[in-house]
Amino acid sequence: MEFTLKNFIFYGFALMTVASALLVVTVRNIVHAAFSLMVTLFGVAGLYVFLQADFLAATQVIVYVGGILVLILFGVMMTSGRLEMRIHVERGQLLLGGIVSLALLTLLLTVIANTPAWKNLTDDGTELPPTTERIGELILNGPFLLPFEVVSVLLLVALIGAALISRKEVRE
C-alpha cells in the first residue's frame, strides 16, 4: 500500500471514526459520549467525501451534527436535569454483550474477507462530477419522487407523533 497523502488522510478519518465510536461506547459520562459521537459523525462525513459523495457528506454534517446530536443533548438534559449523566454498566451484561458483539464482528469480517465479488475493487481515483444536481434531478424529477414524498410524510408523521407523545403531560 503506497503511502500517499490521500491514503494518510483516509486512514486518519478511519481511525478517528473508529476510535471516537469506541469512546462513545465506553465513556461513562453521557455528555462526553455525545461529543464523541459528534466526532464519529464527522469522521463518517469525511469518509463520504472520499467516496465522492459530497452532498451526502454535507447532509451528514448538517442533519446529524446540527440536528440529531442537539436532540440527544436535549434528551440528556430533560431526563437528568443537568448536562451530565452516568452510564451504569453491569458486569455480566457487559460480558455477554461483548461476546455477542465480538462474534458478530468476527462473522462480518469473515464475510467481508471471503466474499469474492468484493475483492480487489480499488478506488481508481477518477474525479466524478458533483452529485448535488443529479440528486436533485433524481429525487424531484425522477424515479425517487414517490419515495421522497413518502419519506417526507413519514418525517412529518414522526414529528407530529413525537410532539403528541411528549405533550401528554400538558394535556393532563
Binding site: 451484561q93 455477554l96 454483550g97 455477542v100 462474534a103 458478530l104 462473522l107
Partner: protein, 745 residues
C-alpha cells in the same frame, strides 16, 4: 226447529259462563255478569217454551257419532219427548227465577259475578243432562252438576263448615256415582252401547232379554239407581244434603231442591224401561224409607234451611217411591210441582235470612260480607243453650239468622214472603184441590195403593202406609215452620225490629213461584195423551195378581196394562177386571177406588198434621218440650238424625282413618325402610367408592397436569424478563448461531 232450539238452550248458559271464564283469562271482568247470566237463562226459558209446541206428537231424537274406539262407537245426541220438554221448562224457569232472586240476595258479595257464572254453568250442565239421549251424556252432565254443586256449596269457602260441607257432598255423591258407573259398564258390556233409544239402543235390546238375564238386569238397574241415591240424597247417602245448606240460599233452592237432586229421580225415570220387579221394589223401598225417616228428622230441626232440606229429602223419597211403584207419571208430576213449591220455600227462607242478614249489617245497607256474617252467627248459635247436641257434628250449629227460635211474628214485617211461603206450605202439605202439591202427592199415593190393590202385594201396602205417614208428618213439620217463623210473638225482639221485607228482585220471583204452585200451570200432566210412561217389558205382576199375563203383554213383549190409553186394556177394564188401581196411575183425578181412598186418607192425615201443628206451635195447648221429654229416646233418635252422621263418623271415617294409619305405618316402616336402605347402600358404599376414585384418580390427574403446567410455566416465564436488551441479545445470538450453523451451505 228442534235442533237449533235445543242448541240455543244449551249454548246460552254455557256462553254466559264462557264469558266469565274468558274474561278471567284476560284479567278483565265482564262488568255485568249477573245481567248476562240472567238474560241467557231467560233466553233458554223462551226457547224451552217454543220447544213445547214442537214435540207434542212424538219423541224426537238427534244423534251424532262422537268417538269411535275399536269397534264401539259412542254417540252424543238429544232425545226429546214430553218429559224432556217439561224438565227443560222446569229447570230454565226455576233457574231464571233464582237468577233474579240472587241479584237481590247476593248483592254486595265479593264474588258476586262468579256466583252467576257458576249458576250459568250449573244450568248448562243440568240442561245437558236432561236432553242427553245416552248414558254417557247423562253421566257427563251428572258429574258436571255434581261439580257445580260442590263449587256452590263451598261458595263461601272461608267458612270451615261450608268447605267441609262441599267436600262431604262431593264425596258422598261420589259413592253413589261409582255404583252408577259400574251399572253403566254392566249395560255396556252386555249391549256394547250406551245409547238408550232407537233400534240399537239399550231399551230396545233389553226388551229382548230372556228371563235368565233378569237377575243381572236387576243388579244393573239397582247400581244405576245408586247414582240416584247419591245425587237425590236418598237413604243412606242422604247426609250430605242438609249440610249442603251451608251454600247460599238461592243455590239451595235451585240445586238442592228443584233441579239437581231431582236429576236422580229423572235418571230413575229414564231408566224406567229396564227396571225389573226386584229393582223397582228396591227403589220403592229406598224412596219410602227415605220419605218417612227424613220427615221425622225434619220435625225436630230448628234451622229453617235444615227443615227444608229434610223436607226435600223426604219429597224426593216420594218421587222415588212413585217410580219404584210404577207410577211414572205421578213421580215426574211430583218432581215438577215439588220443584216449584220447594224452590219457593227455599227462596222464602232466603228472604227471611236476608232480612236478618241486613239486620246484622245495620239496616238496609246490603254491602256486607256474607261469609263474615255467617261466622259471626256460628258464634251466636251456641248461646241458645238448649241444644242437646253438645258433640260437634258437621252442620249441627245453627246460624242465628236461620234459627227458627229467633223468629216469630214475621208475617207483619214480611207480608209477601209470608203469603208466598204459606201457599208453598199448603201445597207441600197436600191441602186439597187448589194447590198443585195435593194433586201430585195424591197421584203418588193413589198409584202406590193402586199397585198394592192390583197386585195384592204386601210390599206395596207397607209402602203406601209409609207414604201416608210421611204425608202427615210433612204437613206437621211444614206448619210448624210457618207457625214458628211467621206467627206468634217475636222471640228475638232485636232481630225482629230490624227485619224488613226483601227488595223487589227477591219478592217478584217469590210471587211467580207462588202462582206456579197452583195446579193450573201444571196442566200438562193432566193431559193423559201428553205424557205416556214408557213400557216396562220386564216388570211383571206377581203370579197371584189379578191381572192375567196375556192381558199385560202384547205380541212385542211390551207390557201395556199399566197405562190406560191402551185399547186392549181399556177393553179388559170394561170386561169387569178390577184394574182400577192400575189405571189410577194415570188418572190424576182419582177416578178409581184406589185414588178415592188415597185422596181421602191423604186429606185426613194432612189435616191431622196441620191440626197438631196448630195445637203445638200456635195455640200451645200441647207443649212440644213436654212431649219431647216424655218420648226422650224417640226425640233423641230424631234429633240425632237416626245417628247416620255418628255412624259414618264412628265407623266409616274411623275405619278409613285406621286403614290410612295402617298404610302410613307400612309406608313409614317398610317402604321408607327399603328406600332408606337403598339410599344408605348407595351413599356409604357406591358413593364412597366413586368418591374415592374421583378424589384420587380423576382429581389427581387433573391436579398433576396443573402442577406440571405451573412448574414449567414458572420456569419458562423467567425468560420473559421484560428487558428489551435481553431480547435483543437473544435475537443477535440467534442470528450468529444460525449463520454459523448454515455457513456450510
Amino acid at each position: 226447529m228442534v235442533v237449533p232450539l235445543i242448541s240455543l238452550i244449551l249454548l246460552c248458559p254455557l256462553a254466559a259462563f264462557a264469558v266469565f271464564g274468558l274474561s278471567g283469562l284476560v284479567n278483565r271482568r265482564f262488568p255485568r255478569q249477573d245481567y248476562l247470566s240472567t238474560v241467557a237463562m231467560l233466553a233458554a226459558l223462551v226457547c224451552s217454551f217454543l220447544l213445547l209446541r214442537e214435540v207434542v206428537p212424538s219423541p224426537e231424537s238427534h244423534t251424532v257419532k262422537w268417538i269411535s274406539l275399536g269397534g264401539v262407537t259412542f254417540s252424543m245426541g238429544f232425545y226429546l219427548d214430553s218429559v224432556t220438554v217439561i224438565m227443560l221448562i222446569v229447570v230454565t224457569l226455576v233457574s231464571s227465577l233464582v237468577h233474579i232472586f240472587s241479584m237481590g240476595y247476593m248483592h254486595g258479595d265479593p264474588r258476586y259475578p262468579r256466583f252467576f257464572a257458576y249458576l250459568s254453568l250449573f244450568s248448562f250442565s243440568m240442561l245437558f243432562l236432561v236432553v242427553s239421549d245416552n248414558l254417557l251424556g247423562i253421566y257427563i252432565g251428572w258429574e258436571l252438576v255434581g261439580l257445580c254443586s260442590y263449587l256452590l256449596i263451598g261458595f263461601w269457602f272461608e267458612k270451615d263448615s261450608a268447605a267441609n260441607a262441599c267436600k262431604k257432598a262431593f264425596l258422598t255423591t261420589r259413592v253413589g256415582d261409582v255404583g252408577m258407573f259400574i251399572g253403566m259398564m254392566m249395560l255396556f258390556t252386555k249391549f256394547q252401547t250406551l245409547s238408550l233409544y232407537g233400534e240399537g239402543g239399550i231399551f230396545a235390546l233389553a226388551a229382548n232379554l230372556n228371563t235368565g238375564d233378569m237377575v243381572w238386569l236387576s243388579i244393573a238397574g239397582i247400581l244405576i239407581f245408586c247414582g240416584a241415591i247419591g245425587k237425590s240424597a236418598q237413604m243412606p247417602l242422604h247426609t250430605w244434603l242438609p249440610d249442603a245448606m251451608e251454600g247460599p240460599t238461592p243455590v239451595s233452592a235451585l240445586i238442592h231442591a228443584a233441579t239437581m237432586v231431582a236429576a236422580g229421580v229423572y235418571l230413575t225415570a229414564r231408566m224406567f224401561p229396564i227396571l225389573t220387579e226386584t229393582s223397582s221394589l228396591v227403589i220403592a223401598y229406598v224412596g219410602g224409607i227415605t220419605a218417612l225417616v227424613a220427615a221425622t228428622i225434619a220435625i225436630v230441626r230448628f234451622d229453617i234451611k235444615r227443615v227444608l232440606a229434610y223436607s226435600t229429602i223426604s219429597q224426593l223419597g216420594y218421587m222415588m217411591l212413585a217410580i219404584g211403584a210404577g207410577s211414572y207419571v205421578a213421580g215426574l208430576f211430583h218432581l215438577t210441582t215439588h220443584a216449584f213449591f220447594k224452590a219457593l220455600l227455599f227462596l222464602g227462607s232466603g228472604s227471611v235470612i236476608h232480612a236478618f242478614h241486613a239486620m246484622h249489617a245495620h239496616g238496609h245497607d246490603d254491602e256486607h260480607d256474607h261469609a263474615h256474617e255467617h261466622s259471626d252467627h256460628d258464634a251466636h248459635g251456641h248461646e241458645h243453650g238448649e241444644d242437646p247436641d253438645s258433640r260437634h257434628i258437621l252442620g249441627s250449629e245453627i246460624p242465628a239468622d236461620q234459627d227458627m227460635r229467633n223468629m216469630g211474628g214475621l208475617r207483619h214485617k214480611m207480608p209477601i214472603t209470608f203469603i208466598t211461603m204459606l201457599i208453598a206450605t199448603l201445597s207441600i202439605s197436600g191441602v186439597p184441590f187448589i194447590f198443585s202439591g195435593f194433586w201430585s202427592k195424591d197421584a203418588i199415593l193413589g198409584g202406590v195403593l193402586g199397585r198394592a190393590m192390583e197386585w195384592n202385594s204386601v210390599h206395596h201396602y207397607i209402602l203406601f202406609i209409609m207414604a201416608l205417614s210421611a204425608a202427615g208428618i210433612t204437613a206437621f213439620y211444614m206448619f210448624r215452620l210457618v207457625f214458628m217463623t211467621f206467627f206468634g210473638e217475636p222471640r228475638n225482639q232485636e232481630m225482629y225490629d230490624m227485619a224488613h221485607e226483601s227488595p223487589k228482585s227477591m219478592t217478584v220471583p217469590l210471587l211467580i213461584l207462588a202462582v206456579l204452585s197452583l195446579p193450573v200451570v201444571n196442566i200438562l200432566w193432566f193431559n193423559e195423551s201428553y205424557v205416556k210412561p214408557p213400557p216396562q217389558p220386564h216388570l211383571h205382576a206377581p203370579q197371584h195378581a189379578y191381572v192375567s199375563p196375556d192381558s199385560n203383554t202384547d205380541k212385542k213383549g211390551y207390557t201395556v196394562s199399566l197405562f190406560g190409553v191402551s185399547e186392549a186394556v181399556a177393553a179388559e177394564e170394561e170386561g169387569g177386571h178390577d184394574t182400577h188401581g192400575a189405571h189410577g196411575d194415570d188418572g190424576h183425578h182419582g177416578h178409581g177406588p184406589a185414588h178415592t181412598i188415597a185422596m181421602v186418607l191423604s186429606i185426613c192425615v194432612a189435616g191431622l198434621g196441620i191440626f197438631l201443628s196448630w195445637l203445638f206451635y200456635h195455640r200451645r195447648t200441647l207443649s212440644a218440650e213436654s212431649v219431647a221429654t216424655t218420648f226422650r229416646p224417640i226425640h233423641n233418635l230424631f234429633w240425632r238424625k237416626y245417628y247416620f252422621d255418628e255412624f259414618y263418623d264412628g265407623v266409616l271415617v274411623a275405619l278409613t282413618v285406621w286403614k290410612a294409619r295402617l298404610f302410613a305405618q307400612f309406608d313409614g316402616s317398610v317402604v321408607d325402610g327399603i328406600v332408606n336402605g337403598v339410599g344408605v347402600v348407595t351413599r356409604d358404599i357406591l358413593a364412597a367408592f366413586t368418591g374415592a376414585f374421583d378424589n384420587r384418580v380423576v382429581d389427581g390427574l387433573v391436579n398433576r397436569v396443573a402442577q406440571v403446567t405451573w412448574a414449567v410455566g414458572g420456569k419458562i416465564r423467567r425468560i420473559q424478563t421484560g428487558a428489551i436488551q435481553t431480547y435483543l441479545f437473544v435475537v443477535l445470538a440467534g442470528i450468529v448461531l444460525l449463520i454459523l450453523i448454515f455457513r456450510a451451505l
